[in-house]
Symmetry: C2
Subunit: 249 residues, 2 copies
């Protein structure tokens, strides 16, 4: 049953799955060295290029890293938050752009998750988080700041809020969502945004966090969400009007 049960998968996929399984189930531990390509080839009864394709698949998921030289080979990676982040952001970005997700839907999800951090962040925030948030607010108040830098500062502000919850799992999930949405948000609200308004809303959130008032913090985030969605709606309406007035370009 086993040889004929996989009629459509290629060997490199099979081998990649087998190795991935060995890693996920703990048969291969972090730092372990996989057999050399030649050994794997012999073991699975395939040629080296086929094994290499399988290894590249795993490398693409940051499950292994390879090293040349005498003591080289493929090693099981310690999957860091950073590496996982990068992938999640790429995936989320594509997911948003390819599935015609309404801005409103993405925005709603993002702020819902951020509000989930609020109670924890209020309970555990430390001086450094408050400092970061205040610093970013100060940067955002600078009229000379470029649009790109304003956006980056915006991300940093929200990141500090999430980090204040001091839960790495939550930070991982949230940062992925926030950063994946950033290009989308920029595209829509880049030119139209009222910086003073945003700075005021950020200030309210920061104050609530300092006062450890979770309810106020959530309310501040909700206000920010509403403003963002309203702004997006206005921008879209304006674009639609323009498109009607001047159909083709």
């Amino acid at each position: 049953m086993s040889p004929a049960s996989t009629p459509k998968t290629d060997r490199s996929t099979e081998i990649a799955s087998a190795l991935r399984d060995a890693i996920v189930t703990g048969r291969l531990l972090v730092g372990d060295r996989l057999p050399s390509e030649a050994e794997l080839a012999e073991q699975y009864g395939v040629s080296r290029p086929t094994v290499r394709e399988a290894l590249k698949r795993l490398a693409a998921q940051s499950l292994i890293r390879t090293q040349r030289g005498a003591t080289g080979g493929a090693f099981v990676n310690h999957l860091s938050y950073e590496a996982a982040h990068g992938q999640q952001i790429t995936t989320s970005t594509l997911l948003l752009s390819m599935n015609a997700i309404a801005f409103e839907t993405a925005c709603e999800a993002r702020f819902a998750m951020e509000r989930a951090c609020a109670p924890l962040a209020c309970a555990r925030r430390e001086a450094q988080h408050l400092t970061t948030m205040r610093d970013e607010i100060a940067r955002q108040s600078d009229a000379a700041l470029s649009d790109e830098d304003f956006c980056a500062s915006d991300v940093a502000f929200h990141r500090a809020l999430v980090d204040a919850a001091q839960n790495p799992v939550l930070s991982y999930q949230l940062a992925g969502a926030v950063e994946a949405m950033q290009p989308l948000m920029n595209m829509i609200t880049f030119t139209a945004r009222d910086r003073a308004r945003i700075v005021a809303l950020h200030g309210a959130v920061a104050e609530a966090l300092e006062a450890q008032d979770a309810r106020a913090c959530e309310a501040g985030l909700t206000a920010l969400e509403r403003y963002t969605i309203d702004l997006a709606a206005a921008v879209m309406a304006r674009r639609a009007a323009k498109a009607t007035a001047r159909p083709a370009t």
Copy 2:
């Protein structure tokens, strides 16, 4: 500057990055066919195996799919939620197991995100969601249900709750977190859990959802979180006691 600026990356990584960039930035659209391997090889000045390794990397991220035959080739994938899901679960699972995340931390994150869905779920839940939840509660009340099936039903229950929020982005994020945590939860609470207690808590959550009472729904989830964490702590304490009584096994 360009040829010498990448001293340590191999060609297949470079090519994979270039193609990934083309997809992410929209230069290659969903359904587009990439050049054939031979054409890509010529284009980048490398051999076919090298190109193939690059393509396998992209395939591992579900960015492309390949097809044999006359009209075959590599095509830009439509990144579905399902495909993204699978990857996220694999990544999250490894992240939890490799980073020594405390059960409490993971649990806290999971329920915080789930509570974030509560207001939306209460506002938008439909008959089908309530039906699913009630059905799963009924299954969970069956004493003959195996532990595995009980766990699966537990996941289905929470999944229905999240889906009731009717926000695909939220569902995507949450389902990943919930399913990634499941093995961890099973390992800890498998034998010790008091099914009647869990069923009662699930019932409270379902009732709150039906009544569209977001506050009560969040409270129910918080109670479930507390119970889960207490249970885990008890299990860990018992294991520690056993280990002390009988140090080596």
